[in-house]
């Protein structure tokens, strides 16, 4: 094998897992398939990644079912919703869970695992400390809620603003969400119609973001309720950085108005962010409608 083909082979070996997950980009896919065509070794390494004969990737993995009480507790957000909705519809997966000795209900939090580093203190001591923790948390939450209602009475109304902490790298920067702004506000950025395709490659340039101007977004028609009934649905707006949630606001859809502003207390660090809008479905049991915008801050 020449040096060039050896390095191509090495490159291919490192792409096989991503390839088998369908994760490679178009050019990489073409390059890897060309390599696979002439490389029996890579093809043989790929073969064990096919589902076992007679099984399908359309059902819950056997490894998830086997460790359900621990593993299902780790699922979050969309992945959790997808597993939940599949379980509702799939009698086979429910039967397999029952066979493995589990109830077809996703666990709320990781249970203790004997001998593992994540195991909790055992028995009564753990329960005791949990109660103290819960009571303390409830007390703190009540205090925060009282402060919010006193300081921001319009928070639960349609128009107004809410505060949320940016939980970024180390320091907390509060971010205010302001709604129902004038769409002619200075520096407003018009968000395009949401759609899954053709946006990820083109982030929206929002310039520098400080507490003076914040980021003002004029919402497209899809992000405005088509009817009063739709306006009552719950909308969750989340700002994310590298997949981590930084700040979030939950309120009725109608409260958004024509334009919204996100105003950090200090200056927002330069980089790419995602703004996610998640609207509750019109019919119970359906998944929420989710839209993303990639924002580039200077």
């Amino acid at each position: 094998m020449s040096t060039g083909s050896a390095s191509a082979h090495d490159w291919a070996l490192r792409q096989l897992l991503a390839y088998s997950a369908g994760l490679l980009a178009e050019e990489e896919l073409l390059r890897l398939e060309e390599h696979l065509h002439g490389c029996p070794e890579c093809r043989s390494r790929l073969a064990p990644l096919k589902p076992a004969s007679g099984t399908s990737a359309e059902h819950l993995p056997a490894s998830l079912i086997a460790t359900w009480s621990r593993s299902s507790a780790l699922l979050e957000g969309l992945e959790r919703e997808l597993v939940e909705s599949h379980l509702e519809d799939c009698a086979d997966c429910r039967a397999e869970l029952s066979f493995a000795g589990h109830e077809a209900v996703i666990a709320d939090e990781p249970p203790p695992r004997p001998g593992s580093r994540s195991a909790r203190p055992s028995g009564g001591a753990w329960l005791h400390s949990l109660w103290f923790w819960v009571i303390g948390l409830l007390g703190a939450a009540a205090g925060v809620a009282a402060w919010l209602f006193a300081a921001h009475p319009a928070w639960l109304g349609g128009t107004g603003r809410s505060m949320s902490a940016l939980r970024g790298s180390g320091h907390a920067v509060p971010v205010a969400f302001e709604f129902a702004l004038d769409s002619l506000s200075t520096g407003a950025v018009r968000l395009p119609e949401p759609g899954f395709r053709a946006r990820a490659a083109k982030p929206i340039e929002v310039g520098a973001v400080t507490n003076v101007s914040g980021m003002v977004f004029v919402l497209p028609p899809a992000l405005q309720p088509p009817s009063p009934e739709a306006g009552e649905r719950r909308m969750v707006i989340t700002l994310l950085q590298q997949g981590r949630e930084l700040a979030s606001h939950t309120g009725p859809f109608y409260a958004l108005g024509d334009a919204i502003r996100l105003r950090p207390e200090g200056r927002l660090e330069a980089g790419d962010y995602d703004l996610r809008f998640a609207l509750d479905p019109a019919v119970d049991g359906e998944p929420p409608l989710v839209w993303f915008y990639r924002l580039r801050v200077r």
Partner: protein
Amino acid sequence: MRRKLKSLPEDTVEDLAREAMVTLYRLSRRETLVNPDALATTLVDRVCVDHVRRRRGPSARLDARPEKDARLELPAESPGIEADVDMLELFRFVVLEHFHQHDAPCHELATEFFTELSWSALARRRQLRHSTVIKRWSACMEQIRELAYAQRGPVWEWARQARIV
């Protein structure tokens, strides 16, 4: 299992045995099992190989297929709880379920690819150009890439790591 993977903790052996049994049960519900003992041995071998792959993480090189009776070497680092689940399989499941709910053509493509793992073979069967199928899939994956970038949770974390190679 202990012959193939030495120094495996007791609870991991239990998990892997349960995983093999769940697959056996799954197969038994779909078809009559001709030789269940041999099948169980094959499944145990497969579970052991998969376990080693999971422990190596998403950005490691794929190993050559081991000899039938070869002992497998586990990486030195102790596993996180995420190693319990085959994240590759869970990722595929999440992709299929997402497309099942939102995009039927992408769901069809994903189902065929995850079974066959060859876009060339899929293009031949559909009598389409290779580049056409790959373009369609790339358009489908735009949705998933956005989710992988923006969503929280072990599946998306795994997907992000799998691409950083």
